[in-house]
Symmetry: C2
Subunit: 212 residues, 2 copies
């Protein structure tokens, strides 16, 4: 669920939220050796209508030619630029339990614009541990280290009970985007984006549609 | 991103998708000992306007009394009923790599309506392993075992390259809701719900709003 403070521009946040899936699909097409696609092709792959895709992309410019479709490498470049992942963002990961470890091991971030550079935990048993190429640092040093490195993006994999406190520290250190894995809603000031990953919420979204 | 096949009812899918967050917040309020809340209180906690919350809830009935607010235990019961998590759904988890293991270890599902009952992998080195109370089963037996147990809900934590194939098998076994952790869009028939967990996509959604 997008946080309302994220929706300050005129482009609907829900449209922005679909762009990463367009980009992901276009890159998969490119990996298959494809050079051209169409809104109906993209729509089929994404479970959306072609009209929706044309409308979403039209917010950002003219990317296709009538009857000729979209040039995939061009549209990939444009979407990477629009989403600002034509660079690599340094990321701070907080929390090195089972979930934090799985996140640290995950290889799918770099290729999509993100590199975990710092890992913090408050558990003395975890501080100093090296795993997956990271050394876990003391959360007490987090604000200073995040600020010194000018890190703007964080992943929060701490228990719900400490998530707000840790988020406040991250923001104090200059973080402006938080991927929140804790099952609690964060209160953040304007100008800070939050996205929530709550698998149980996604599951409940689906059971609504299930016949028992 | 919701799959279009999920949006067959008249209630907007985006509204349905917010209900689990309302429920989560109401339960947190109940855990604090609160009995009554208001749409503005809920709105503050959720980063939404009170008008949005009143409108969303009005799709499902009259839950509050003008000037008296919402009775929390009552609204919790109603939302659990609406989302069909006033019961516990058995879940099949496919994929027992780092991510699958973290999912299996996660304790936040049962309390919200889900219990992982089966774990499958295709890696002979993992089949037969016991961890976190589960014994990893052979994916070759999955369709039959899922069908026999009438499992309707699955979590997919396999690589993107095998996700569609595994999803097809799950659907063959009777699964109707798939939480897809693989960074690829699944093609599923009507009547099957898919929700995607793609942390990199969420991160890209946020970097759109960042000033470098």
């Amino acid at each position: 669920m997008p946080h309302k403070s994220a929706s300050v521009k005129t482009i609907p946040d829900i449209v922005v939220g679909r762009l990463p899936f367009y980009l992901r699909t276009l890159r998969a097409l490119a990996a298959e050796g494809r050079e051209i696609t169409s809104s109906s092709d993209l729509g089929n792959r994404l479970g959306l209508t072609s009209a929706q895709i044309r409308k979403d992309l039209s917010y950002f410019g003219e990317f296709g030619k009538q009857g000729l479709g979209y040039n995939i490498p061009f549209l990939v470049d444009q979407l990477r630029r629009i989403l600002k992942v034509d660079r690599v963002w340094e990321v701070v990961l907080v929390g090195f339990g089972d979930l934090g470890r799985a996140i640290a091991h995950y290889h799918g971030f770099h290729d999509r614009g993100f590199e975990i550079r710092m890992v913090f935990d408050s558990d003395p048993a975890k501080i100093g541990q090296s795993l997956a190429g990271f050394t876990v640092d003391d959360m007490n040093a987090m604000v200073e280290k995040v600020r010194a490195a000018k890190v703007r993006v964080a992943m929060l994999a701490v228990p719900a009970t400490s998530a707000q406190k840790v988020a406040d520290l991250l923001i104090k250190g200059g973080v402006r985007a938080i991927l929140n894995y804790a099952p609690t809603t964060l209160n953040v000031p304007k100008g800070v984006a939050v996205q929530n990953i709550d698998p149980a919420a996604h599951m409940q979204h689906m059971t609504y549609y299930l016949e028992p």
